[in-house]
Symmetry: C2
Amino acid sequence: MHLSTNSMTIGTLAKTCDVSAPTIRYYEKIALLPLANRNASDQRRYTASDVERLTFIRRCRDFGFSIEQSRDLVALSNSTTRGCSHSRDLAAERVTEIRAKVSELKALEKSLKSLVQKCETTCIDGTGNDCASFRDMRMPA
Amino acid sequence: MHLSTNSMTIGTLAKTCDVSAPTIRYYEKIALLPLANRNASDQRRYTASDVERLTFIRRCRDFGFSIEQSRDLVALSNSTTRGCSHSRDLAAERVTEIRAKVSELKALEKSLKSLVQKCETTCIDGTGNDCASFRDMRMPA
DNA sequence: TGTACGGGTTAAAGTAACTTTAAGGGCAAG
DNA sequence: CTTGCCCTTAAAGTTACTTTAACCCGTACA
C-alpha cells in the first residue's frame, strides 16, 4: 500500500482517521467534507489537509457534538476573521450536559443495583411473577 | 375526564404512564403491547393491567434497556414457570455498561474542560486559525 | 341547530447518524 | 486468468420514535 500523503485512497484516509469509508462518503454527501478530487479511474484521492479536517471532525464527534455542531465548529476553526469564543461556549455547554448525564447515569446505576440486590435476596428461585423487583416495576408512579 | 380504570382512552393511558399516544400506537404496532380492545367507535380502550404493563415497559426503557431487551423482560416478568435470574443478569450487565459509560463521560468532561481552559488562556481574542485548541484538534492521533 | 373544540383514527414520511446491501468496475499478485 | 481486495453508486435498513396530513366523533356553547 502506497501511502504518498498526496493521494490517499478513501481506505487509507479511513484508517488514518479511524472512520469507515462509507462514513467518509456520507460526510461528503452531506457536505461536511468537500467534494473529493478524483483520479483517472474516478476514485477519490485525499491529501494531508483532508486528514486534518476529518481528524478535527472526528474529535468533535468524539466530544459528543452533533454533526451540525461539528459543521459549525469546522467553519469556526477555519475562519480567519471570527474568534473562537463561540466554540469555547459550545464546549462549555457540552461540559454542563455531560455533568448532567453523569449524575443521571449514576442514579440509574444505583436503581439498577438495588433492583439486582432485591432480586438476589428475595427471589433467587422464584418465578417472574413473584419477583419483588418485577412487582415494583409494574407499579405506576 | 372520566377515568374509569376499566376503559381509559389512549390519551389517559399516555398521561398515566408518561409516554406519548403515538408511542403507545407504535408499541402496539411492534407488538410490545397487545392489540388494544376497541369501543363502538373503534377507539382504543385500556384497563389497569395495560397501565401495569406499559409502566413496566417504561421503567425498562428508563433503565436504558433497548426495546428488544424490554420485550424479553416483559416476557420474563409474565412467566410463571421461568425464574427471574436471566433478568437479574441483564440488569447486572446494564450496571457494568453504565459504569463504563460514566468513566467515558468523565474522561470526556476532563478533555473538554482542558480544551475550554486552553482556549481561555491562549486565544481569548484570537482567530479560529490561531486557536491552540483547534490546532490540537486537527492533529491526527 | 350549527359549529368549534378537543379528543380519537390511519398511513406515511421525517429524524440522527450512520450501516448494510446490491450490483458492478479496476487492478495487481499468483 | 482468475482470485481477491479495493473502489464506485444508489437504495434500503437501523433505532426508537416524532411529525404530518387528512380525516372522524362526541360534546359544550351561542
